[in-house]
Amino acid sequence: MPPAPPRSLAELFLGFLSIGARSFGGVMPWAHRVMVEERRWMTEADFAETVGLCQFLPGPNIGNASIVLGKRWFGLAGALVAFLGLMALPFVWVMALGLLYADFSSNATVRAAVTGVGAAGGGLFIGTAIKLARVLVRKPAALALVAGCFIAVGIARVSLLIVLPAAALVALHLAGEKQL
């Protein structure tokens, strides 16, 4: 049976609800499981194309994906329903966990464990960046831009509103010269 879009707003809502509710350790793998494997709303290629678009756009990637897909299937109502379905349960989970943590944060061991989780999350960012950097290693200009952005934003703490336009101009120029 070929993939078919959700038939109703209710089905769309429940699908995104189950993505949000289960997405421990990253949302994209769960989005793939629900929409491509379980509910068969879209093909593998469709999914990859949508993710590509949402990584290109600014903002939370999966939030944008819910807007793009909801719009494609049911227009404005679909975009709203998919977005709210995605966010509803995670919002409750995170707020509940936050309140729970506020109660226990005076305990030094709890605070230490939670800080450790934060450092581990930072490490996941660094691992992700290394993964993404693998395709850039043969391009000296790209590595220089990586280093420049890191020094400006991570070390010198210059505002992104200054760094991003400046770096983008340089990068677009280099990309035009086939150096990226």
């Binding site: 421990f24 903002g59 966010m87 919002f91 995170v94 966990l97 464990a113 490490g123 395709v135 677009l172």
Partner: protein, 171 residues
């Protein structure tokens, strides 16, 4: 008017978050900790940790920040602001995307953005794992976690769990 400030700062972040939330995490920390002094760097890493440990999109840290600053209304306003402008943009661009699938400028923008996103995600990881003077224990936890992601096929949740255990033991 604190809600208006939340809306403005996070609405602005929404539109410069190329590469998703990880790419603006260092800017978010700068705005929240250095510019507005809504919390300390140590509190920021803890809210970030709570958002990492719960299921759902990593953008939800913004809800926690809003909550800390202005309660439930703050949470909703901050989250709406960080998702809204990007969502409106996604709405308008979705149709154009297919039409320009193979256009050279789209490829050029994508190639140009790639190294910037990598540098910014590095910055986010570094800033989060360095909430004060450099601390080898936090860097060790971060390094182990990055290694788990890069060298194994384990769910990243295992890296989070390892961070909790090591944090409890070392810090």
């Amino acid at each position: 008017m604190i809600l208006l400030e939340l809306a403005l700062y996070f609405g602005m972040l929404s539109l410069i978050a190329f590469g998703g939330m990880p790419a603006v995490m260092s800017e978010m920390q700068r705005l929240v900790v250095d510019v507005n002094e809504w919390m300390s760097a140590a509190e920021f890493i803890q809210l970030f940790a709570v958002a990492q440990a719960a299921p759902g999109p990593n953008v939800l840290i913004v809800g926690l920040i809003g909550w800390k600053v202005a309660g439930l209304a703050g949470a909703l306003v901050a989250l709406g602001a960080v998702c809204g402008p990007a969502a409106v943009l996604a709405w308008w661009v979705a149709g154009l995307w297919d039409r320009f699938k193979d256009s050279p400028w789209r490829m050029r923008i994508q190639r140009a953005l790639a190294p910037l996103v990598v540098g910014l995600i590095f910055s986010g990881g570094y800033v989060i794992a360095t909430p004060g003077a450099p601390d080898w224990r936090l860097w060790l936890i971060a390094a182990i976690s990055a290694a788990i992601l890069l060298l194994s096929k384990l769910n990243p949740l295992w890296a989070i769990a390892a961070g909790a255990v090591l944090g409890g033991a070392l810090l």
